[in-house]
Amino acid sequence: MTAIQAAQSSGLEPTQKRESAMFGIWLLIGAETVLFGSLFTLYTVLRLGNMNAFRQASRLIGDNGAVWATAYILLSTYAAAMVMRAVKKDNHFSLVGHLTLILIAGFFFLGNKYHEFSRLIKEGLLWPGLFSAPGFTGQGASQYSSIFFLINGLLLIHMVIGLFIAIRLTKRAMLYQYSSTNDTPIQLFARYWQLGVLVWFILFPLFYLI
C-alpha cells in the first residue's frame, strides 16, 4: 500500500508512465493506419476504373530512383531496430551511431524524392489541374499522379517530422541522456519510424512495380 501511496502523491509511477506512452503510440499508429488505409483504398478504386492508364503511368514513373529509395528505407528500418536494441543494452556508441544512420538514410530518402518530384514536374505527369505529359488519353494518368503525390506527400510529412525528432534524440543521446531505464522517447520514435517504413513497403509495389 505504501508504494501506491507514494506513487499517488508523486504523480504516476515511472513504469506506468512508460507503459502508457507505449500503448498510446500504438493507438496513434492505429489511427494513422486508418488514414493511410483510406488513401490506399482510394488508390484501389481509381485503379480499378483506369487500369491501362495506371499501368502506363507507373512505367513512366518507375526507374532506378525508386530502388535507391527502397534501399535507404531498408537501411533506416535496420538502424531503427538497432537503436531499440542499443538503448536496451546501454550501448552508447551503437545508439548514437544508429540514430545518425537513420538521419543519413532519411536525408538521402528526402533527396531522392526531391529528384523524383522535380522530374515528374518537368515531364508534366501531375494532377488533372496541371497535367501536361504527352501520350496519354483520358484522365486516368493524371489521377494516378494525384494519388501518387497524395500518398507520397503524406509519407514525406511523416518522414520530415520523424527526422526533426531524430535530430533532437541524437543530440540528447550524445549527451548520455538515454539509458536502459530511461529509453521511452527512443522506443516511441523507433515505432513511429517503422510506421513510415511500412507505408513505403505498401506504396512501392503499388506505384512502381504493378
Partner: protein
C-alpha cells in the same frame, strides 16, 4: 467524511484554469464551452423555424436561412454532439471511477481542449464570412465555395485531432490506470461505454480530417478525386465522410447509454440487469456503426448488394440498442425507486431513444430510404436521437452534480423543467417526422402549401423546449450560488467516484480507494 478544505475548485483566476492539467477542470471548461456553442446553435435553429413562419422568399432571406442552417448543423454536431459527454462528464468522472489520479496523458488532455477551442474560433470565422455549407460539405457543391469553406476545413481538422486525442487518452487510462483490485466486472457501465466510444474516436475520426483535407486539396489544386469535371467521383467523398459521420452519431449515443445504465441501476437500488450483455452490446454497437456507413449512400447510386448489406448490419445494430433499452427497463422492474431529477431525465431519454432508433431503422430500409432520406423525416429522426443524448447528458449532470459542485439542486423544479423540455422537444420533432413522411423536404427555406400547420406546431414546440432548457440552466446556476451542502454519497452508489471527498481534491484520492468487492469479501 470530514469538511474538505482544499478541492479542485480552490484555486481561482483565469490562468489557473487555462494552465490546469486536472481533467476535472478541463471537463468543466469543456462543459461551459460546449454549453455556449450549443446555445448559439439553438438560437440559430429557432431562427430557422421563425424564418419559415414568415415565408420569406427573397434571395437575401434564402442566404440568411442557409447561413443559419450551416451554423446550427456545424455547431451542434462538431462542437457539441461529437465531444459532448466524453469531453465533459467523461473527463471528470472516468479517472475517479477507475480510482486514478488523472487521465493517462494530462497535458495532451489540455491540448485537446485547446484544439477544441481553436476549432470553435475557426468555425466562428467561417460562419462570420458567410458559410452556407451544411456540416456534410458534400462535393462537388462545396468545391465552389471560397474563404468560409477553407476556414471550415481547418475547423473540422482541428476538432478531429481533439477527438482523437481524447479517444487515445481514455483508452490508455481505462486499460492501464485502474486502481489495484478494481476488476473489469467492477467497472461502471459509463466507463465501458467511454471505451467503446473511444474505438470510434480513434479509428473513424482520422477519415474525417482526411476527407476534409482532400476536399481542400481538390479545391486548391484540382486533384480530380471528387470533381466529376476532372474525372473524379463525387460519391468517393461521401464514402470517406460517412465512414466517420455514421459512427459519430453512435460515438455520442454510447456514453449516453452508459449514463442511463448506471443511473437507473443506482436510482432503483438494484444491480445492473444484464451487465455483461450491455457491455458486449456497447462494443457491438461501436463496430457495427463503423461498418454500416453505406446506409447514407443507398439513394446515391450505391450497388444493391452493398445497400442490402449495410441495411442488414444496421438492423442488427438497432436490435442491439434495444437490448440495452430493455436491460434498463428490467433493471427498473420491481426496484426500490428513488424518484429524482437524474432518474426522470434518464426516463425521458429512454422514451426518446426508441422513437429515434426506429425512425433511423426506417431510413435504412432500402425501399423507404429513397422516399425519406431527403425529407424532414431524417431531421426528426436525428433530433430524437440527439434529444435523447441531451437528456442523458443532463441526467448524468444531475446524478453527479452533488459530487462535482458539492451542492444540492432543487430536484422538484428540475423535474418540472425537464418535463417542459421533454414536451417541447416532442412537439417540435414529432410533426417533423410526420411532415417528412408526407414528403416535406429537409433544409427547405420556404413553407410548402398545405404543410404550414406542422411548421407552426414545430415553432411552438421549440419555444417550449427553450423555456425548459432555460429553467434547467437557471436551476444549475442557483445551485452554484445558493445550494445547500451535498452529502458525499447522496444516492447510495457503490462506484469509486463516490468515495472521493466532495468536491473531489485535485489528485482525486489521497489514498487508494477501498474496493467494494474487497469490502464484501472481508
Amino acid at each position: 467524511m470530514s469538511e474538505n478544505t482544499s478541492n479542485y475548485l480552490s484555486e481561482s483566476g483565469a490562468a489557473s484554469w487555462l494552465k490546469s492539467v486536472d481533467s476535472k477542470r478541463i471537463a468543466l471548461m469543456y462543459l461551459v464551452g460546449m454549453g455556449v456553442a450549443a446555445v448559439l446553435a439553438l438560437i440559430a435553429g429557432i431562427g430557422l423555424r421563425l424564418d419559415l413562419l414568415t415565408n420569406d422568399a427573397m434571395v437575401e432571406g434564402q442566404q440568411t436561412f442557409f447561413q443559419a442552417l450551416s451554423f446550427h448543423s456545424f455547431f451542434m454536431i462538431f462542437l457539441f454532439m461529437v465531444p459532448a459527454i466524453p469531453a465533459s462528464l467523461g473527463n471528470f468522472f472516468l479517472p475517479l471511477q477507475l480510482g486514478a489520479s488523472n487521465v493517462a496523458f494530462p497535458r495532451l488532455n489540455r491540448l485537446s481542449f485547446y484544439f477544441w477551442f481553436a476549432g470553435l474560433l475557426l468555425a466562428f470565422l467561417s460562419m462570420h464570412a458567410g458559410n452556407i455549407l451544411r456540416w456534410t460539405a458534400l462535393a462537388p457543391a462545396s468545391l465552389t465555395e471560397g474563404f468560409p469553406f477553407v476556414m471550415m476545413v481547418f475547423a473540422v481538422i482541428t476538432l478531429g485531432v481533439s477527438v482523437i486525442i481524447t479517444g487515445i487518452n481514455f483508452t490508455v487510462t481505462i486499460q492501464l490506470h485502474r486502481a489495484q483490485g478494481l476488476a473489469w466486472s467492477d467497472l461502471p457501465l459509463f466507463a465501458w461505454s467511454l471505451q467503446a466510444a473511444a474505438i470510434i474516436q480513434i479509428f473513424a475520426t482520422p477519415l474525417l480530417g482526411g476527407a476534409f483535407a482532400l476536399l481542400l486539396l481538390e479545391k486548391m489544386m484540382g486533384l480530380g478525386l471528387f470533381d466529376p469535371a476532372l474525372g473524379g467521383d463525387a460519391l468517393l467523398y461521401q464514402q470517406l465522410f460517412w465512414f466517420f459521420a455514421r459512427p459519430a452519431l453512435f460515438m455520442a449515443l454510447l456514453p449516453a447509454f452508459g449514463i442511463i445504465g448506471d443511473t437507473v441501476s443506482v436510482m432503483s437500488r438494484r444491480p445492473v440487469f444484464g451487465y455483461t450483455g450491455q457491455v458486449v452490446s456497447f462494443f457491438a454497437i461501436s463496430f457495427l456503426s463503423i461498418l454500416s456507413w453505406g446506409g447514407h449512400l443507398t439513394s446515391s447510386g450505391q450497388s444493391i448488394a452493398a445497400s442490402t448489406m449495410t441495411s442488414f448490419l444496421f438492423m442488427i445494430l438497432v436490435a442491439i440498442c434495444f437490448n440495452c433499452i430493455l436491460s434498463w427497463l428490467a433493471t427498473l422492474y420491481k426496484g426500490s425507486i428513488q424518484l429524482n431529477a437524474a432518474l426522470v431525465f434518464s426516463l425521458f431519454a429512454i422514451i426518446m431513444f426508441p422513437v429515434g432508433l426506429l425512425a433511423a431503422a426506417a431510413l435504412n430500409i432500402m425501399s423507404l430510404n429513397s422516399q425519406l432520406s431527403g425529407s424532414l423525416f431524417a431531421v426528426g429522426s436525428n433530433h430524437y436521437l440527439l434529444g435523447a443524448v441531451l437528456f442523458s447528458l443532463l441526467a448524468g449532470l444531475y446524478y453527479w452534480w452533488p459530487k462535482m459542485s458539492g451542492k444540492q439542486i432543487n430536484e422538484n423544479l428540475s423535474m418540472l423543467a425537464g418535463l417542459t423540455l421533454f414536451i417541447g422537444l416532442n412537439i417540435t420533432f414529432l410533426p417533423q417526422l410526420i411532415a417528412g413522411a408526407r414528403g416535406l423536404p429537409r433544409g427547405h427555406y420556404q413553407v410548402i402549401e398545405g404543410m404550414a400547420a406542422s411548421q407552426v406546431v414545430s415553432v411552438i414546440g421549440g419555444i417550449i423546449a427553450v423555456a425548459g432548457l432555460i429553467g434547467v440552466i437557471v436551476l444549475f446556476i442557483m445551485s452554484v450560488k445558493k445550494g445547500a451542502r451535498a452529502e458525499d454519497n447522496p444516492w447510495g452508489a457503490s462506484s469509486l467516484e463516490w468515495k472521493a471527498t466532495t468536491p473531489p481534491q485535485t489528485e482525486n484520492f489521497s489514498e487508494p480507494p477501498a474496493m467494494h468487492t474487497a469490502e464484501a469479501s472481508s
